[in-house]
Symmetry: C2
Subunit: 342 residues, 2 copies
Amino acid sequence: MQVKSGGVTLADVAAHSGVSAKTVSRVVNNERNVRPEVRELVMRSVTALGYRPNAAARALATQRTHEIGVITTASPLYGPTAGLFSLEQAAWQAGYSLTLTTVRSPSEPELADAISYLLGRGVEGVLVSGATGALHLTPSALAGLPVVSTSPISDGAPNHLVVDTDQVGGSAAAVHHLVGLGHTHIAHIAGPLNWHAALQRRDGWLLGMSQTGLEPGPVIEGDWSARSGYEAARAIVDAGVTAVFVANDHMAMGAIRAFTERGLRIPGDMSVVGFDDVPEAEFQMVPLTTVRQDFAAAAERSVGELVRLIEGGPSEDNLVLLPTELVVRASSQQPPTVPLSV
Amino acid sequence: MQVKSGGVTLADVAAHSGVSAKTVSRVVNNERNVRPEVRELVMRSVTALGYRPNAAARALATQRTHEIGVITTASPLYGPTAGLFSLEQAAWQAGYSLTLTTVRSPSEPELADAISYLLGRGVEGVLVSGATGALHLTPSALAGLPVVSTSPISDGAPNHLVVDTDQVGGSAAAVHHLVGLGHTHIAHIAGPLNWHAALQRRDGWLLGMSQTGLEPGPVIEGDWSARSGYEAARAIVDAGVTAVFVANDHMAMGAIRAFTERGLRIPGDMSVVGFDDVPEAEFQMVPLTTVRQDFAAAAERSVGELVRLIEGGPSEDNLVLLPTELVVRASSQQPPTVPLSV
DNA sequence: TCTACTTGATCGCGCTGCCCG
DNA sequence: ACGGGCAGCGCGATCAAGTAG
């Protein structure tokens, strides 16, 4: 029923230009051993007929699909989505196309389903973006398929690799910044702690606190949403802290709203530091101090590494950590009770 | 080099279970006319060998790929990305998978490239999500391929359909809300006016103004980013308006920041209404009055309509408009100079 | 005998790898 | 160096053949 690609095949082009199908194939694939004049002739027929190679037939004949499968969580969080488009661009440039799969939760069966589905589609590699917990990949299910993930992978297979940003370092830097301002009681609003990213950020906060010899303040677990940040902040507003390190910017916005509602001024009475540096963080009523991650760079690197694995390149490291950067804006300053230094 | 899906084929399963390949095919495709015992036997072999049908071979044999191509703009804007995941879920449920393509700009050649690429991959329909201007599709390039878009399509082909939210109505409603509060001088911060969505929202604003007999205030064009909203607001802060209708929430945040910086209070001195209802809009320091669009519903409807077109269903309308809803929060109230009524 | 159901053999989808002229 | 023939990638469609009632 369906007109496929105009229905023009190699054979049609061959007939139109008076050469064999194989020669047309050579021209289309830029192989050598075709005289320029013949090549020219064939190309003319190709454009005249509007020929377009059939990807399925090609995949069948070559045993290569040039497809990369992407598994991502279904929620429209900033990080995963921002990375997705960079992923697509990088893949395109490397000659691959992306097949998208979403999972609601990172449970093993859902992940296994997604991988199984992608395997059936013949993907040559899998990118797990914005996954939550550590990946427990059943080796048999993968059959040596290259995988690049932002979350750690339980097996140490040579073609499984992690590309992530230095979330622990970034979080610790946020704590050092606050401590440098004089804060000693610092709370943490965490992401859902079954997420690897949430654990990393909490661990970075703990690291920073211990490095500066401070007792960690309370930890409240949110779900990345502004609403959960709002609720978490209401829960700790009377806990006697002067600063909060929040695991992402959207929760930080909610927290600021909650504090403001209770009559606290930001940053006069309470300092807030976020994570991600979403584009609007700089343009909040109180511009947000936050930890920037370069999602585009991470995406490009991920695709680069995956393509290298697919094409049989050597796997040097099994962990690539991209730098994060503390961006100090207006939502953090000295605590209210500290006398002005200088 | 690449182990494909474990390399298990129909023939392997057939050999393992002692039936013909065709029978295995019947079982795998849930066709009738297979004895339950044979079906059982075959299924056992399928799981034992880890057989997975090869999508490329299937596509070649059936002339159907069950793939839907998605063309979207490369920028991580909230709307298009929020819809993307709903798209994927809906497509999956309908038995289709998504191949993602991004374009930097909506220029004809870029769109044509994307469509050409998708045609080569054998997609059975195309979803244009978050496109900018109207689509000028060259009919020959499409060969009757079903297309569902949020932007209008220049040709009136029966298998080209538009699914959008009622942005004009929503924008007009925002204006009526402001006018109802007593505002008479209302500016507009628009999106990039080569975007269909930006035009719709501006037109809705104009409509609302004319319906209420008011002169439209100044229009400044932004680029959807919070930064551009900030800059636009600085440009109109002294223009003598008491309210601004902003074409999306992120620009509205930037605008609020700019007004605040100039000493204006929101909403005391200036009312601001956004568009989209991003999740964090409710949790800004001044919760944002905005126009909500249901991206998930739009995505589901888009996929539904596209699948209907693909499967040869009748095309009733060529335009589906989903409702929008004004959500009144704290960023809008009476203008400062108006005496309190009641 | 005829029908209903179940199974198998052959072919071809569009393309590329191999080998030959 | 260049070009063509042939086979086959893995699957499903067609048609024929077999079995039982």
